[in-house]
Symmetry: C4
Subunit: 453 residues, 4 copies
């Protein structure tokens, strides 16, 4: 969890941008919710290396020097993230790490880096089989380990050569698609692979939220503790989607355990978007210790397409620690609709599945119990209220999500909706492009087990 | 033929599980039918190697030690099968064999291993062309031969990089798909390649019986004596399919010569499922010395789809030793139907095919003559009847299937149905998701050959 | 051009088979038409090499020894062709040439080999990119050249890894598909790639004539002098197709410049099939010095499908030496139909194409002028007439096709049909599964050229 | 920008051809517009190398020697372009550069070469992954740099192995498809990959303008300053397309920043085609310093298909320097139609896009203001008028396009059409197979910015 410069600032960010946003990560309570990495994305180094072959800081944008920035982050309880590409250049055409892995890793370690996002541009054609790509990225993995510093390694090779097959051997997360675009379902010529294509030969960019989510559906199960499928950064707050769409985006990224890296301008956040990003019940689902990504249980085409021709309803489910379950109803149609799904479908379509025969209490993760009010959110944003004083804010440094769940704390559990019996159904009215997101908790059986009879 | 821990126990099996099931392999007569390998699947070793780089036993689960277990198996006339992955770790994340092949093979040989199932997880990206995968698996093949011990080598790389093209050079069988799931036709997001995709880029898992059978259809003819296409373990007895579906599953796995490895809990077998697994006529087909896998002769979409949208009728045929033929009618529709196929279709759709002009006696392999009654099966399972005392049990250690066929022994030949003349048809009423399975025997011509005229 | 043991005899051929067929190649006049290579296909060597690593003759089948057979062939004016596989074994599981290329080439040269068909079985996974396959086959190419003997090199890797891209660097021809089957359009499970798939991942076998022709359509233009696309052997005479279908098969193989290798039993040829194979006008088209393969100009789906669901009309065209043109109308529908095509379509669909504005004389290559009568053919087959005495037999050793064309010899030119003017059309009534095959000869313009005005 | 022998002359060009066309490049004013490279395409060298392994000139075609020709070009202010293939032979089967890169680069440098077009024929199978192709082409890139001479490197590997991923590391442009054919939309069997296939396994040749443009759509955004997607040479003037179609061809090649290399006979140019090629407004778009390729914003199937079955409407947009925009409406239907698109669609379909909210002045790039009259063009072609004397001719050596735009020079800006307000629409009547091509210039806002309020 953290924040990255790229989506909102592209190559044009500087010391001031970092100062403003890092301060807000702390002041708005993001850090204490777990958003504690700041990634300096493309353009932190120069195109030319120095005489010794080492990277050189972009002093124009960072006149105080990167070490000072890193120290400031650490002093503020934040982590310092860096970026490069497993190529001759980065995508922004400054010096890339290919064939300089060990020097660059030392350089970053010297700066106090805690995180590396490692891209795929200008890779000198070193792709085409999993082995070729693995070999290229594995060098940096070793280089990072050799520094002796604990640096999270985030593969950004766009799903090329199936990182879900091998990323877990060398990294902590791996992108699965071309870059995200701040749109719910707009198709883009530069993102030609459809949401069904699990072996895309042109990942591209400009991919919509629904495009990326579709790609994630086939490989959601490949995610695991220690290696997460990365659906790319969050667009919440950037203005290209509606409030409802951003909630869907955030719900699904959390549900499939994608890293949650904000890509917005924190000083321009609206109260509504702020409330999305700090929803403790959704974050608890994302950070659940069980680590299981939700998988898609239904994909249903509907007739009410949106202006881009997209129209489908999806049902997702995933296990949580302690036997709880996450369930999402996604209305990708153009009209509000009631979505209903029974426990057999939710748990995989197998009538004999034990979980379908249980009784469950259903909690809504986007209800009043978990959502901060606009008024409070607005006051935090304008500095007249501290997060700790707001009624729905959750401070993870004081209490873990696990403990909050154990205590049945409403803002983390969600709003109780109803109880569904064995083989019963859950229904929800879901707006256009919206998502109903639930936590299900098993009700302990009151009756004797069959083998006790 | 044998039994494997994975489908029923996953990573959670131990010495007791092995003792119970190995004892039942003997007591229920499975061993004497040929089910004589027990495979200790994922989790028999630790994640860490010892100081010398050797594998370490999972002493927690196997306190008596693996050598003791192996000795006990051998003493009982059973074979000791082991498991690992051609990767850094196994799928269950204990130590894998990649780059440790020779040490590990020696370790297994020291334990008296007779069989190795070798998986594909955490393979460090060493895939993408047949050559890359071959090179990886061939090392273990050599390592096994170098031990001097006869160890059956079972490739488990999920059909990745087309093992049917090269597996025969180095191994005895090779998986063709992602892991099986105990369902007849349920689609699963983690098994995205459809039954038509013979070059799947994401084998996944959770694949249904019909999904895997479809994949087998394109490559059935690649199976050969000494290298078999492996459709994954049998789910018979695990409860996810109906009795009729399990008969289909067993019929087709036998017909395409997949290795028959049970994946159930032998102490929880129902009489019906037991009777399926010991049907001598079907086993004789599977173990026929001719070694030809059945090939699909018809694939017909039908309108009566099941709840998962699956609906097709299939006709399969394969040669048997001595000129006999195996024929299967699979009703993948949702209603009982009569399936009819003429000899031209059965033998490949060529009007001039000699076999279509012959006369054949038709034997039903699932009829009364071959199926043990529920009563007898139940008594064997509850220990009040020895298999040798039951009326349909066949002991291969006393008589080979070939000899039984030569003697026209009804329980192995099947139930005589009728005789079909030149260019005639065979019909059978087949229930939803069921299969009619026949042996055809040529009737010696009474008339003079044409060239005698 | 020649004859190969495989299609008619499989692995079961011997000295007698070779003697009978080689004698008939001479006696029936095939040799003097150019069918002068006899290929001893799979099973000429043993599975084991000798102590020095050399191949060993299959003495059981060839008791006189291969050298004697080769000498006999050469004495009869025939060439001696051999077979092996670029693998550990051949497809029939005798010793293959992989990693023994230089020794084996020497061995064949010692036997007087003139031709090598080199297969793709048991290749130890050395495939997956053009480079991997090229490297494997290039070794044998060099080994053959190193012998100093002129040995034609025929790649038989089934179109795997796109031999049309690289075969011309090292070989004389290259197969483009799985093995042919003696059927016009029957689909086969072991030939899953359809006729449109130019990048087939499972070439398989059992492919019908229409399946292979479809695959050839996309790469016909890759054929060139010195490297021919090989559509596999001729099935004419093997009984699985009708007379009309065999004429189509032969017409199209000749038109796309596939090597013409018969795969029949010459002692069982019918007069009709014999007359197909010796049609001098069609052979002149195949052997034309221009070397241009016909390309497909129309592919039109029709409603009258055959029993296998196949139904399409095709128009093909190719250039011949001296400005002549070959044109084929293929009726792949189930009923007789008139096929009409205008010169614009025939010459590529470009209205401004110069050739469409010319006037052409049209000659039918399957008319009376070129077809030997059944009576004469029958008498040749039963030995009561010498080919040289028959009225349509053409002896290429006495006169070249080029010279015959220059002399306007009717049996080689074809039967004159009519003259078609600028932008005019050609029509022909074509039976089910039949082909009308024409030679077009430009009429010299009588008018002054425009630039003379 | 330049001229290449291949499309009009194939392998049959010689010193005279070069003399005639190079003179016309100067005399007709092409050179001063930027068309200043002459590429001697396939057949400038012999098939055999000399005793030292060096290339040998084709003295038969170039009796004066290549050095003389090169010197003449340089003296005339033209650049000398050469051609070879990264293979054993070129496509025309003379000596290729593979494994001779350093010697050949020196040879070309010695001749004074300024440009290399480097093809993909006879590549010894060195393809199949980006890495294999990259490694092959990168050797020549280094060899060219090692000469110390500035030689533009033009990859001609037909889009094989995705040069858009790696070409920018080593070259200045890269072909994306099989060879172009002088037809708007004719399908060709040798160009089997459709316009949607961004990962084509058989690039082939004979590809129509619409086929290639479709392929470009998916990767247009991969084009960048210093590495351009090459859609192959211009067919304008070769007679296979109508005047309107040639304008479309030229518009789109310019818009996606393909290199503009003419492939015609300059001495046979019609006035109309000449006027297309020298249109300064379209050339200014092509050569804009911003370097952004247009991307496709709409692809709409229409019912009025042409004779080849093609029928679609497309809308494209791209940024230009100074905030201007290029917009193209392509009518690929069979009838004249009005095409309308609003600013939201034009700028990517995102309602919140800033550019959609601006006001724009619209200039037509094919209007009277930019098109030379037939009369004047005819007089230039027949030598009775100097280009400099004609009213629409633009001399880039006297003034840059940038300066002309700054000065609002009509022949470069285009014909003013109208002004479109925020979220407004642009409409144009576009003939069959035609294109309306516009430059949009933002109108400076008269109102205060919102943050000034």
């Amino acid at each position: 969890m953290g924040w990255d410069t790229y989506n909102a600032y592209g190559l044009d960010y500087n010391e001031t941008v970092l100062k403003v946003n890092s301060q807000l990560l702390v002041d708005l309570g993001f850090r204490d919710l777990g958003y504690n990495v700041i990634v300096l994305d493309d353009n932190m180094q120069l195109r030319q290396r120095d005489a010794d072959g080492n990277l050189q800081e972009n002093r124009k944008n960072f006149p105080s020097g990167l070490k000072k920035i890193s120290n400031d982050f650490h002093a503020a309880g934040l982590k310092f993230g860096v970026y490069s590409s497993a190529g001759r250049y980065t995508c922004g055409q400054v010096a890339g790490g290919l064939d300089h892995e060990f020097a660059d890793a030392q350089w970053w370690a010297g700066l106090g880096a805690d995180y590396l996002k490692y891209d795929n541009c200008y890779n000198e054609g070193r792709s085409g089989t999993p082995k070729i790509s693995y070999d290229r990225y594995a060098v940096m993995s070793k280089a990072l380990r050799d520094t002796g510093r604990n640096i999270t390694f985030s593969l950004c090779n766009w799903g090329d050569d199936k990182p879900w097959e091998w990323g877990g051997d060398i990294a902590n997360s791996g992108r699965i698609s071309g870059d995200i675009y701040d749109s719910f379902s707009r198709p883009a010529p530069q993102c030609p692979c459809g949401p069904d294509e699990y072996y895309c030969q042109l990942p591209g960019g400009g991919c919509s939220v629904m495009n990326i989510l579709g790609k994630a559906a086939n490989i959601a199960w490949k995610s695991q503790k220690g290696y997460w499928n990365d659906l790319d950064m969050l667009e919440v707050g950037n203005g290209g989607m509606t409030y409802v769409e951003y909630k869907t985006h955030f719900s699904m990224w959390a549900g499939v355990k994608s890293p949650l890296i904000m890509g917005n301008k924190l000083n321009e956040l609206s109260p509504q978007d702020y409330a999305i990003l700090i929803n403790p019940a959704v974050l608890a689902l994302s950070q659940d210790s069980d680590g299981s990504a939700m998988v898609r249980r239904r994909r249903q085409s509907v007739d009410d397409k949106d202006e881009y021709g997209f129209g489908e309803v999806q049902v997702w489910q995933g296990g949580l620690s302690g036997g709880d379950q996450a369930v999402a109803f996604l209305n990708g149609g153009n009209n509000t609709r009631t979505i209903t799904s029974d426990l057999i479908e939710i748990f995989g379509g197998i009538p004999t599945e034990d979980k379908a025969a249980k009784t469950w209490r259903v909690y809504d993760l986007w209800g009043d119990a978990t959502m901060m009010s606009n008024t409070e959110a607005g006051r935090i944003l304008n500095g007249t209220l501290l997060p700790a004083q707001a009624s729905r804010y959750f401070n993870r440094t004081e209490m873990s999500f696990e403990e909050a769940i154990d205590r049945n704390m409403t803002s983390v559990m969600g709003t109780y909706v109803n109880t569904v019996g064995a083989f019963g159904s859950i229904s929800a009215e879901v707006p256009r492009h919206g998502t109903a997101l639930f936590r299900l908790r098993p009700v302990k059986s009151q009756t004797r087990k069959r083998d006790e009879l």
